[in-house]
Symmetry: C2
Subunit: 704 residues, 2 copies
């Protein structure tokens, strides 16, 4: 897919220029310098010959049809250039030109026009407003970046072209990192992260896919594609702009806990995408994935010539939840025999400050061959007698011989710069062992490998489909719409919960105090009375709830008081009367909520009710639809999850009932996209085997 | 202080050697190459002349008395060398030689012997088992490291010599970082972090003190000195080995929450020490402190030529609790007038990808002059037309002219490596503006500056001294000791709480059921009965507590049942009877605890009781003694702190009563170091103004 962008047979550069100050010069120069084997056609109405290539006035004049056109002309001419491409039959276009959506309303209109032209001709577009595209294996560089990065197994797409230039410049400095592909996404008017992930999933030159992204408008499609691709290779994303997004106004209670940050965290987890917090992390992780085998277990060994950095590394591994392995006794014995007395033959292996390369080599061979070792971090401090080059070679040889054979990763941490730079470059270039300047960063690369393994191996969601009465839900929603309302109150939401076979308390709507008493007699005392009004969502706030009413008199008093208060606090509210409800035994209070994230859609919240949600913000999120495994994971993710297991002698809560509720809500909000907010608060959960009851639900529909 | 180590008038190198394979050669060579102006005396019984210096057989043969001797000979000869130094009157000795405490029991004995000799002659010792000492301003390098680092404002002490070599090697690679002093601490047999902090507090060449430390045996002394020195300059410490220490066995409930990690966190905070999580952070922070003014407010401005890194920087600043400033309208207007239309004149200022150095310079001048700006991060991505050198110069000039005049810090983030390295080096060398390769790291340097300012400005603790009856406490402890016990149960701890004028429930010890009924009649129903036994600490676990007893019959039944059960569950327990206690109204349950950290001493815990402590581990710590301000801070540090303010309409809790309890416990455990563990659990806290009652306390004394 998208082959023409990366391996075109010939390329037209529309706006190629002989003037070195123009971007059209830089793009053509890069294309020519990159070693591209195909034909390059400069398009320029004025120049006859640019940088040695015969130029054409229009793509339509080219004797053949190029696979790819790169557009680097002022924005007013872009539409007609695209028309020319269309007429010529060019299917792939990179628009470098700026002046589109990023330039305000007029630009946005221009972008729409351009995309309409592209659609009409079936042209796929990268950009506009981008730096261009690089494929180091073709090889082809049609960017205006300064130079082509070294070849390597990393494919990088960036919504920020400038960030791309910085990364490419960094890659040019040594032989430590190489790229298979680089795409500057620009405004993503057509091709986005989704298309490129899919295109790179089976690219034999790419082992790891990196992205810098500022937003993922089609979140659900991103998730579907990422879930599929992340089974094949790691996808690591830096998502920026998360903190500000959190401040967007959200009205509902659940919404105030969610915010985009949580949606991204949930969506990436569900899609198997590894998230990097910083650019530094992005590349630290990428190096490990790109150049070393995956960490298949969590048992790490450290070999070091100094105690201090070994301890720092141990700390970092432990903090990340990785463990220092215990060697087989044969390994320990062999190390003890060979190493000096003062050395440590246990993990971390300390070969001592006077270790020469041969001592490192011996220790590394023994450690790498130990079946209890899933991965190694080798620390080298440049001490007086340290043979840095030879030690780097010993690390490389171990990786090449034993690491590769056993398929275990080896990361190096040769510390310093002045004496070590050359050895570090050679180790990367000759043996593909990435180096981290500090041990903590090597440890975090291993942690990322472990995280990826967990994400990758997560089973595909197996949606449970419950038999429910969606017709009834539709009818309730229709009625609400007909009333011109958007919020659904208690008595209506009871119908929806019933349609989904979720347990609700016995209850009846009483229009008068007499009816209330009659219903209470039927249901049996004690009962609860709640105001029934489509205009009152937060019932307790207006004194609209009375609990533990034990006799007819109390019910009558409560009815009159509630209705009086509701009328006073919410003047003009439509009041249907009171809901008379069975008083339920105490249970654990749980919140199940949902609000719609603008990018990912329905974001379902789970947490313990009351102060846990309100004060401690102890909640977790999933994008719906999700399955049983994921619902089960939600239960384990809140900080207070031990309470579900029963603490201080309390029996465990009925987790199955919580999971069922979560899954049914997932189904409900998926089936009815018009539901934009929903809270079951509280869901009363009883001891294991005794179920759960949705005591109260509020629900808001999208305003049409 | 310790001047002879850093500015000695002359130096003896004991073990100086002409053989380049020996450490004694490397040390002498470094000393000679470092440009040291004083006299250097090689000491070697064999050689007549080493590296051009006349050698002496012993320090006692030198015609003058050197200020400093550096010992680099095999360990068996160290004691007699030290005797010679003593007889000669040399007051300062660096022992590089290894083979001491780090080498096991025999080595430990040798170290003790050496230190005894030093004490006898009044010699101060750095080491043994270290790399040596560097002062770049004297200049003098008496280490066996490869080279002398560039001069600069950073003093670095390291418990790991090898880590030191790595850092020095890194400093040699560019002109980006310089050191005033470097000390390899080795085994810290005499001179430790405490001495060096004090010595460097007034060193005019040192602006920031860094330490890598694996342990601080005299934690309380460290805290006192650090608190004093951190008022003058920042102290940044990486403490390693924290995760393993957490696993040390601790028996008590509070202890299981504490662990060394928490003690370090609390102690550093109280002492004003900035903690770096990783070596990378240590030096990222150090660069900012060393070369730029402090960040005096939290209002940061960003100037960038690319949106992406600007957003990443914004995210990182916001996450760290710093804010993007709003410019004065004059600044915005000036920027709008000068910058192209597509640029952003608001913060972050985007000067656009085609910005040349003059545009950066203009924007920087305007932004740096804005009174709402406390600090600036300048981001430069190396785009096609970017004038990297000239832009770096514009940053430097702004820092030199306006930054220095207004005393605001400017950090640069020139991204990339290949095209930018030289400019970055020059910017550091010529203007002292440190560069961070990624914007997030610059943001974290600013966050560290903010953290230091908060720590530095924290008032000195003003211990409150309560009038208490320590004689009574002493008497209780004496009695417990006489009984051969270490744990103090409920009835005895009541006496201690009373002596400290902490409210306790009315209660009496009843030896028989009849007595229990009589006391209950006196106190008034309902009452609580609790087993009274010095051998039973966790009373509820053995069914030793009965609450809400409303009449004489129930009290009688409860007494018999409790005593019977206690005898059955803890056979052989001494049982005094039952405590008959007033049944208190419900209040908020709080835990106040203490256990002794091996390094820092009494570590006081505070948290909400019950599940908050047990399940959510929502607790905070301070090293005692602490003051009212610190106790007040503890209340705000727990995640559930909002509950103290009253949520969902509940009135606020009596915080003053909690603070009084914390302060009195701080005083108690300071006055009585023999108390090794203590828990008030629960402290029942009532609404504001209504006080708190210590419902139950357990206390353990040190076994003699």
């Amino acid at each position: 897919m998208l082959e023409s962008f990366f391996q075109p047979k010939s390329v037209a550069v529309i706006g190629a220029s002989a003037n070195p100050d123009k971007l059209g010069y830089a793009v053509l120069k890069n294309a020519l310098d990159s070693g591209y084997a195909g034909k390059i056609y400069p398009i320029n109405p004025k120049a006859g010959n640019i940088l040695g290539c015969p130029a054409f006035a229009s793509v339509e004049d080219i004797p053949e049809t190029p696979d790819l056109a790169v557009v680097v002309i002022p924005y007013p001419q872009v539409p007609s250039a695209l028309e020319s491409c269309g007429r010529k039959g060019i299917g792939s276009v990179v628009i470098i030109s700026a002046g589109f959506r990023e330039a305000g309303y007029e630009g946005m209109k221009r972008e729409t026009e351009v995309i309409q032209i592209a659609k009409r001709y079936g042209i796929r577009v990268i950009g506009p407003n981008c730096l261009g595209v690089i494929d180091t294996f073709t090889p082809l560089n049609v960017t205006f970046a300064a130079g082509t990065p070294p070849k390597g197994p990393i494919a990088f797409m960036s919504q920020s072209g400038a960030l791309g230039t910085a990364i490419l410049d960094w890659s040019l400095a040594g032989s430590r990192i190489g790229f298979s592909k680089f795409v500057s996404l620009g405004n993503k008017a057509d091709i986005s992260e989704i298309d490129l992930m899919l295109a790179w999933a089976d690219d034999p030159h790419t082992r790891v896919i990196l992205a810098y992204s500022e937003g993922l408008p089609d979140g659900q499609a991103f998730m579907r594609t990422a879930r599929q691709v992340s089974r094949k290779k790691p996808i690591i994303v830096v998502k920026s702009g998360v903190t500000q997004a959190g401040s967007r106004a959200v009205s509902s209670h659940t919404g105030s806990l969610a915010g985009s940050e949580q949606a991204y965290a949930a969506a990436f987890k569900q899609a198997g995408v590894l998230r990097a917090e910083t650019m530094q992390d992005l590349f630290d992780y990428a190096l490990g994935f790109a150049y070393q085998p995956l960490l298949k277990g969590d048992r790490v060994a450290i070999v070091t010539n100094a105690g201090g950095p070994g301890i720092l590394c141990t700390d970092a591994l432990e903090r990340a939840g990785l463990s220092l392995t215990r060697f087989e006794s044969a390994t320990t014995t062999a190390l003890q025999e060979f190493l000096p007395d003062a050395a440590s033959a246990a993990n971390p292996v300390d070969v001592l400050g006077d270790a020469l390369a041969d001592r490192y080599h011996f220790a590394l061979e023994k450690v790498a061959s130990d079946p209890n070792v899933d991965g190694i971090i080798v620390i080298v401090t440049p001490q007086a007698m340290t043979e840095i080059e030879a030690t780097a070679k010993a690390i490389g040889e171990t990786a090449k011989q034993i690491g590769a054979a056993r398929d275990i990763p080896i990361l190096s941490c040769i510390m310093g710069e002045y004496r070590v730079s050359e050895a570090v470059d050679k180790l990367a270039a000759d043996y593909g062992v990435p180096n981290y300047p500090f041990p903590e960063r090597a440890a975090s690369a291993f942690a990322a490998m472990r995280d990826y393994r967990v994400l990758r191996d997560h089973p595909d969601p197996k949606p449970t489909r419950f038999e429910v009465d969606n017709d009834h839900v539709r009818a309730v929603i229709r009625k609400v719409r007909e009333d011109g309302r958007v919020s659904i109150g208690d008595s209506e939401s009871r119908e929806i919960l019933s349609a989904y076979k979720l347990r609700i308390p016995q209850a009846k709507l009483a229009a008068t105090a007499d009816e209330a008493v009659a219903f209470a007699d039927q249901i049996g005392y004690p009962v609860v009375l709640k105001i029934a009004s489509p205009d009152i969502l937060h019932k307790t706030d207006v004194g609209g709830v009375k609990v533990n009413l034990t006799n007819a008199n109390d019910v009558r008093d409560a009815f009159d008081l509630i209705v009086y208060r509701a009328g006073r606090y919410v003047p003009g509210a439509v009041i249907w009367g009171c809901l008379v409800q069975e008083m339920l035994p105490k249970g654990m209070e749980i919140l199940v909520g949902m609000n719609r994230d603008p990018q990912f859609g329905p974001l379902v919240t789970f947490g313990l009710g009351g102060i846990y949600v309100e004060v401690l913000k102890d909640v977790t999120f999933r994008v719906a639809p999700f399955d049983q495994t994921q619902a089960n994971e939600m239960l384990g993710e809140i900080r207070s999850h031990h309470l579900l297991d029963g603490v201080r002698g309390a029996p465990p809560a009925d987790k199955a009932a919580i999971i069922e509720t979560l899954l049914k809500i997932s189904q409900l909000v998926t089936d009815f996209p018009e539901i934009v907010e929903l809270d079951i608060n509280p869901l009363l959960v009883y001891d294991q085997g005794r179920g759960a009851v949705s005591l109260d639900m509020r629900l808001v529909l999208a305003s049409k």
